[in-house]
Symmetry: C2
Amino acid sequence: MNLTFFPEGTTIEILPEQTVLEAAQQVGVDIIATCGGKGRCKSCRIKILEGEFSPPTVQEYKELGEHGIQRQFRLACQTTARSDGVVRIVPPVVERFHQILSHTEKLQYPLDPEISKQAIILPELTQEEQTSDFEQLQQQMTSPVDRIDARVLQHLPALLLQNSRHVTCVCWNQCVIALEPGDTVEHLYGVAFDIGTTTVVGYLLNLHTGAEMAIASELNAQALYGGDLMSRISFTRQDPQGLRKLHLRILETLNRLIDALCEDAYIAPQQIYELTIVGNTCMHHLFLNIDPVHLGMAPYLAAIRQRYVVTAAEMGLNIMPQARIVMLPLIAGFVGADTVGVILATGMHKSRDLKLAIDIGTNGEIVLGTSERLLACSTAAGTAFEGAQITHGMRGASGAIDQVVIDDDVHCRVIGDVPAQGICGSGLVDAIAQMLDTGLINPMGRLLAPQEIVRQGKSLPEALERRFASQGRNKHFILLHGEETETGEPIVITQRDIRELQLAKGAIAAGIAMLMQNLHIEPENLHEILLAGAFGNYIAKESAVRIGLIPDISLERIRSVGNAAGLGSQLALLSQEARREADQIAQMTEHVALANNPAFQHTFAKAMAFPDK
Amino acid sequence: MNLTFFPEGTTIEILPEQTVLEAAQQVGVDIIATCGGKGRCKSCRIKILEGEFSPPTVQEYKELGEHGIQRQFRLACQTTARSDGVVRIVPPVVERFHQILSHTEKLQYPLDPEISKQAIILPELTQEEQTSDFEQLQQQMTSPVDRIDARVLQHLPALLLQNSRHVTCVCWNQCVIALEPGDTVEHLYGVAFDIGTTTVVGYLLNLHTGAEMAIASELNAQALYGGDLMSRISFTRQDPQGLRKLHLRILETLNRLIDALCEDAYIAPQQIYELTIVGNTCMHHLFLNIDPVHLGMAPYLAAIRQRYVVTAAEMGLNIMPQARIVMLPLIAGFVGADTVGVILATGMHKSRDLKLAIDIGTNGEIVLGTSERLLACSTAAGTAFEGAQITHGMRGASGAIDQVVIDDDVHCRVIGDVPAQGICGSGLVDAIAQMLDTGLINPMGRLLAPQEIVRQGKSLPEALERRFASQGRNKHFILLHGEETETGEPIVITQRDIRELQLAKGAIAAGIAMLMQNLHIEPENLHEILLAGAFGNYIAKESAVRIGLIPDISLERIRSVGNAAGLGSQLALLSQEARREADQIAQMTEHVALANNPAFQHTFAKAMAFPDK
């Protein structure tokens, strides 16, 4: 039998006893199967477009729900074909995405989005009057309206005629941006995006109720052209089409996420009327197709910092063409709207208590202060915390070691309880912290040899001793022996991995130190440390303190706040008050420049070392 | 030798002794030659793109000027080929276009266009500062700027880098709509359009000095789908692509006029930053691609009346893409921005004296009142005054009879002093007025037979008697015998022509009467009658009074004011004050509905008759 994948058009052969997943993998068609094809996750979701297939299994009902099954969603790992068919692979949502700040915290702002809907019936005129369709519409609206987009105006007379003058008016900032037949006020949706250098997250919100309807995230497709900001900026200089390529890549990513969100929530992209976007300054520029050339050279100037609005049609996003895309304001060339989002979501700008927030992504953004004064800086943490440039590094997905305990031996926890494939950022921090505690690494970051440890008078259990190894001059420490891993190869921490981590944590720690120096603050003055971002969610606080990533304060005053940048984006979508506060935050937050700052270089060098126990 | 016409691609053969005009006419390629190929006008202008041609003649230097010749413009009637070549036919400017209101009258408003330019140099920052390119730009601007178009923002950083931060900023309503390298403040142009049902006129203005640089006009290409408004509205209902076709036709016309204006003034279309447009409500809707369906049925509702702005890119006009197109406001479904333009240009809205303005085009727009109160109406005059539907009717171009005197015989003046081809509107009105005076037509509009005239005791000179003829039952009166005309056929006025004129003038006269009844005004209360539009320019005032087209007041109080609608469009382009007044005019002017009004039907029927002497 033949199975065709839409829209790619690839057709493969499928045998009666093969699942769609097996048939696809056999010929190299990529379907992600996070749980290994056991029907325990929905990463291999497909949608059946044509043909007869096996009836849904219990697992499929569990993962996809009655409603999903009705809409022809299936799991590729559970489904076999009974005739020729056509299916679509549904892009998987990145797993392990959690929201730590709860829904109630969102509602500290009134639900008052800039986008609004009102159903109106324009009275039929019985005689000639000096008015117009638009003026009649203005009269029916309870909030003032003074403009109408040209594309909407063009269809106004015909729409009124076809729907007995009964329409729903979609307004944004006193401008009519869409008109729909009949009463559609309950269908009002928006997406809040957080565009990270590595990961892009989108939140589909019901703006009528304030409810979150779906979350989706994907790797930023720009990563193909460079993992960090500087390499992407260089790419725009080296390749004459570089800017365009990066711009199109992020649009593709957003369009894919929008499709995934709409699939999940069973709504149409045309019902999305507004997007809010946070991201660092470079992501902001690349999304808007602005040459980021100035961001890469002193004095690191952004093209624009204030809140900026474009339409979906202008940018080529596949939602309602006149939908507004609101780019939240930036703080400086290296401190973007993502930081504004963190401040907004954590309420630091309204807090009388001194707080320190750290958002660790490919760049580390750090904010320190109170409602009186806020300082922010950004440091290039690199991608070590995201698992890149680490020998067995990987993202925090199924198969990653995410917790490590070392006592008489090494004990690893693996995400998804499957044979390990590598180690993610939080696992790496745990491993290094534990290796410091057990004296396997010295404060300068050197991986000691077993005989050095014994020479210092420490005991070295035999199980641990067996984990020391080397390849030529490169020493490493084995976390998992080959027999315990997916690949059969051991998973190790090398001396180079330790150096990479030192660079990353040194950059963050030095940034924190710089802000604290600027405000003449000591760790004991800190009321709270807030760890934002996916990494901040999973890192063990004691390990973060142990390696000197964050100041040493009591653990109960260290709190993970989830994807605060993304939450800030959501708040700005849900509430105009939050949006105005975002503008104030961008205005008030002082940027502390670290690049070319000799004091920072010095602090950085010092911060690479690990604290003594 | 082969001669190719660009962009059509037509290639024709041309002999060494043939002019380009002759060679073109021989094979049916249309080149208009108003003066008959004598080198006395520039209607046959071509531009040489490739090839060798005869040297320019004295007439060509006279018509095209040294500068035109340098730019490869030639007259087709004077030019012979010396090799294969490629030429472009330059669309001719409609002749006999005069501006009666002088330049000084335009400057009753301060030169203060909404579009402005400022050259700025952004300071180089020596160290990192918390600002952005756009904020630096805002600081340098002397007038407030709060937005920047996305397309402009996208090029901002690179433009600053390439031009040592020295740029010219083009602003419209506090928004940056273009940035240009270096100092270009002296190059600031705009076009004021008057889109008539039949004719479109464009005025290219230098907005830096206020000077008029070029005028061009063309027939509205929509006429292909119907001569009057109702037939175009029907066309959009009958043909599913009708709206789109009409919309594209008017865009084509405007784009051709823009090209012609730019050619004439030696500027680039990219230097045009703003357009103002006046036109009746249907032209307004068709330009904006709004379905005019409601305009054709009671209660004749416009989609929008207020001043409306779109960009050139949105509409597909070939000027600077972010240029703003300002649609001046409308008064009602049948009284458009052209009437607003007439009121603005004639200052009726500020006058304490009672004035009556009549703009006769395919529709007749009538305004009556003072600064206290203004009434307006529109009547379907049809195309009789434009020469259509008249047996030998033609537009007021070379070869048209435009003045008629009847004494012992008929004396005709022909535009361009060439053998006559037909009769234009002003000639027709003259002819009928004179025929009434000499008793050849009775007050009911019947063309009498010679014996009836004699029976009434009037003498009938022999030369006149010879001019009575008939074809079957259709009587007619010969204005020019065959030997005096271009075609050899006589040019006549038929009974049907007289009826057509009666319908047209009856509609106008009835509209005037309705407004006067509404204000309880008698002709003696009128301080002035203003005749607007091309027709108003050329009509003999005494003839207009004689046929009862306008009220009978002393001739010195009747004044032609030229294309007042077009002048209003220009004023709104030159001055923000004028633009605001246009808004007020649209607000204050009361529309008097004539359609379906029984009183109007009655008045109309009465107004068809001619007044007694």
